[in-house]
Amino acid sequence: MALLRLENVTKRFGGLIAVNNLSLEIQEGEAIGIVGPNGSGKTTLFNVISGVFFPEEGRVIYEGKDITRMPSYKRAPLGLGRTFQIPRPFGSASVRENVATGAMFGTLAGKVSVDDCLEIADRYIQLVGLEEHESKEALTLTPVEKKMMEIARALAMHPKLLLMDEAMAGMHPKDIDKTVAFLKKIKEEEGISIVAMVEHIMRAVVGFAERVMVIHQGKKLVDAPTKEALEDQRVVDVYFGHAAGEGNAKG
């Protein structure tokens, strides 16, 4: 059974079709990269999966259960964690409290005390290397630190499926390599599926993903093992604008 299955999902905003009849499957423990040019519907797809928006058509099945119209706050305890494209820290709270909040309301919700959560937070803060900033207010962090904090916060939720929305954009290549290595390690240790949405950073995709999905204009263009997908002519066209016969691909 797939961990997550999307069946013919369509999400419209007025006349704009952001996600168009898209189906996909994610197995437990997979590392998947989703790529596609700006405006191709990647973030909308994440929003549909995490319940920020409900799709107009299609179904979202998680662990065999239909969660298409389940409010987002009920999905986190089931094991759906995510980070945001533009980090959304709880600004006035400390880094430690931010990460602890993840632990408190994720899959461990109701099973752990506040103190336990703070201890869990310490562990993940150390993993992402923010221990020096632990007691700082989250809004005083640099953008990259905020991204790392969000990853720690999402991991502290102990998710089964982690959606990372361009978590590595804006990072130094060295940091990207470090983050990729560390995500791979976490994935093995805790058995979570990680879906990273990466836009332009092929370095991260190649290093991290086992399978890549290319999305273009809300549709799935290619879904194949990483190397194969990135060498696909259609993908090259979409990214570099030589859309054969279509002439409307946007870089």
Binding site: Y73, F90, S92, T101, M104
Partner: protein
Amino acid sequence: MKKNIVKYYPLIPVLAVYLIMFLIGFFMPGMWQMVALLAFYCALGQSWNIFMGMTGYVDFGYVTFIALGTYGMSLGITYFSQFEWLGMGIIVIGLILAMFLAALAALLEAAIALRLRGAYFAIACIGINEGLRYFIEGAKIWGGSEGLIFFGALTQSLGRETVNQLTTFWADFSVFVIAALAAFLNMHYMRSKIGYALTAVREDEDAAKVMGVNTTKYKTLAFLTSGLLGAAVGAMAWGLKLGHVYPGDVFVIHYTIECIVVVLLGGAGTLLGPVVGGLIYGLSKYWLAIIMPGFQLLIFAPIIIIIIVAFPEGVIGVLKQRVKRTALEKYIV
């Protein structure tokens, strides 16, 4: 275990201030009325702050709860004082009615207004408050615009001596108790899961939802707590103490503004803030009314503006930053 007690240390300065206030009022002749007024502002500030300070939602209709609390007490005494065997029980009934009305209003208001944010939420709360007032007046329920006058009924059922003690001492004393209770609840919320959830709501409600926080539940809980405490203050400090209630006297937005000023002066979202704010506000209002009667508001407004400009985070908000990494840190929250 010790760690758990340390978490509650910030209650010490709050309770110490209340105790000192009480002792001054109790032992120094002529001070009781002033101390009672200060306790009233502290209690309201503390209660209002539980919702506003923790969620960032500014409830401009807060006086609704104080008013409904007053009505609860008034209705209890008006309709139950005929049963003489109830004795002091009518005050308990009044308090229960106050809680019931406030809870009903809080849940309804939460269902309607808490779906809105920012200015829309504020306006909706004002609307509900005005609506309730004109509903009571227009539909002529609970005495309509003539209100309820029950001082006589109270005296008849409990005796002059008892009523005298109730209105001049116990009504005010109970405000201290409510203030302390509000401080305790606020502290407890801050230190528990509730506090983390509400901080997340305040900082980024949509992100909080995706993180698994049932935002509606936690907002409603804080709103309800805040409303019930406000209603208790109204029941005691207005209902029981004054012996009458008129809709035009209690559903007045002026009192909400006073709550806001108290909290902003002291520091929104802090525990000690509303106490300090209540003291500053209450004392200056009291003294200015004595030294220049009639002009107090003229002087008062600039003073408040200056304080707010100098301490945008409130007195305690600033102090909190100052005592960071000192021995005082664990006492000031």
